[in-house]
Symmetry: C2
Subunit: 329 residues, 2 copies
DNA sequence: GTGAAAGCGCTAACAG
DNA sequence: CTGTTAGCGCTTTCAC
């Protein structure tokens, strides 16, 4: 910047002002600076700028797995909203490694490298738990964070799963199973609760062993369905905690000669892109994936700007009826 | 840091050294500093550190679409390798918006916010084209960048597609179509070339209209297959430029009463997670997605460390035989 | 309008 | 081993 000042025959202060488009600089000097910048290809150093302004223009996103298509779309929404505001998105794939989350939160948020934090992980790094000044710079998406007063953008998982289960009950199913996600997970718990609520309301029993699963993966779906089909009285329908599980479940059913939906109805959750392209088309709950991300980013930006935000923004879901569900035969 | 120095009764230099674990500081002072840090919960300011050291510990990744499952896995590999080296990953979803790529490259790479750049986009932002000092900090993955001397990590797209096509020819197919990606894309060109090479080697014609497509999406696959099936002499097999296209193509064939593979063989490319779970299981080319990312990140890190790197690292692919291909009926 | 100068918080000579 | 000091490159009072 000193070089530019020399070249333009002005002070560094004037260069700084000119680059910022300040109105406190004469038209003539503006042009001299612009010309010098053009000649040299000068670009302001963002780090120095950040140090002086105490702003990095960066936000950290912690996500259990970028490769999960649901999370990937949430990231898309986050990136879009951040980009609009001139912010950059730092992504950390934490894979549920709490130690790593902790170290990152320290160096990134507390260390000033990022101004805010968006959590898709469902829990807050320990190192931030009692840092009051960090609290105002964190937003949770998809999964709420218990008892930390962290604002969040979510859907009503229990209600959505209740609706999915009720759809099956409405078709006439009575022996309905649930393939859940990983045990510790908040989404697992809520979706499971929604399943149980619907069954209870209909006065239907949920025998031991009719709730399986353990991961949000195709393989978990295959294994879960295999186990259900080995029962003396297998279910006639299965609600799955996400689409991957459902796709795996359908695969396992087909491999055992059970046609879907004729011999078994299957419902998913998320409405990932392939859900409409697999055979049979997957009946599922559509989440506003990208909106979740966008709203979370906007909420964080508002927080950073010192504005008030709603405590928990809950976005609507939509049940998508396709071909994987039918009345029991 | 001044506070810590005061609290520990030492100078800021000693605090800085102690925090860096320098051996030039007495055990006693190390403990005094550690204790003061514990009391205050002090964390070094990474921005100031970055300004002083001229290092941000950040790398920018430009990707056409995070939501694309292939790219998502490449990102996973990149993040893993960067994380190992203590670097952070900034992700920009560019969606082929060259203007945005340009602005970002300027503020991020030239502006010092990031030390390096990884391109999944297949082309170099204009603002970096003749910046010699930026050249040593860029790596391309998945798609090479023409004539810029930028090191890259790729697969041999043409050879892989040749193999996929040859597999179909080996099964006895003679009317083979290709559903390609978007027109301008480098991968599209290379894979198309591989297809043509295999057909030429076998002395098979590629009539006008037997090459379709236009996007790497399920929908493009559906439309492409619909168009092929409307021909007076439809193909008996189709090689697709990626798995999404293949999945869409299978869907369209099924909807028109053509069973896959009995009435139509289909081959994909990438081996995304659902490829093995759809029905029929997709025969495809497996790319080492995560390895591509990991190697690219390592290459960039080596570049930043001033080490010499190979010009173009080419990783092996593997043909995965599943159930979507069979001899023509 | 413009310039001089004081830092933002840190590290690395340099001198003890 | 330890402290003093000079910046890293920028923005912004404060005086003119």
């Amino acid at each position: 910047m000193a070089d530019i000042a020399r070249l333009a025959g002005v002070s560094v202060a004037t260069v700084s002002r000119a680059m910022a488009g300040s109105s406190l600089v004469s038209q003539e000097n503006k042009e001299r600076v612009a010309s010098a910048v053009r000649q040299t290809g000068y670009v302001v150093n963002q780090v120095a700028r950040g140090l002086r302004l105490q702003r990095s223009g960066l936000v950290l996103v912690m996500v259990p797995s970028i490769a999960n298509p649901f999370f990937a779309h949430v990231l898309l929404g986050i990136e879009e909203a951040l980009q609009e505001a001139g912010f950059g998105m730092l992504v950390a794939n934490t894979g549920d490694d709490h130690a790593r989350e902790d170290v990152l939160a320290r160096s990134m948020l507390t260390g000033g490298k990022t101004e805010g934090l968006i959590l898709l992980t469902g829990h807050c790094p320990d190192s931030l738990r009692d840092e009051p000044q960090a609290k105002g710079r964190i937003v949770a998406v998809s999964e709420e964070i218990a008892g930390q007063g962290i604002p969040s953008v979510t859907i009503d998982n229990a209600a959505a799963m209740r609706e999915a289960t009720a759809h099956l009950i409405g078709l006439g199913h009575r022996r309905i199973a649930h393939l859940a996600g990983p045990a510790g997970n908040g989404l697992t718990v809520q979706r499971l609760a929604g399943f149980h609520a619907a069954m209870r309301e209909a006065g239907l029993p949920v025998p031991r062993g009719m709730v399986g699963g353990g991961a949000f993966t195709i393989q978990a779906g295959e294994e879960g369905m295999s186990r259900l089909l080995a029962r003396q009285a297998p279910p006639t329908a299965v609600v799955c905690a996400n689409d991957e599980i459902a796709i795996g479940a359908i695969k396992a059913a087909r491999e055992r000669g059970i046609p879907v939906p004729a011999g078994m109805s299957v419902v998913g959750f998320d409405d990932i892109d392939v859900a409409r392209a697999v055979h049979p088309g997957l009946t599922t709950i559509r989440q506003p994936r990208q909106d979740l991300g966008r709203e979370a980013a906007r909420m964080l930006l508002a927080l950073l700007a010192g504005e008030a935000v709603v405590r928990n923004l809950c976005l609507p879901t939509q049940m998508i009826l396709r071909a994987s569900t039918a009345p029991p035969s």
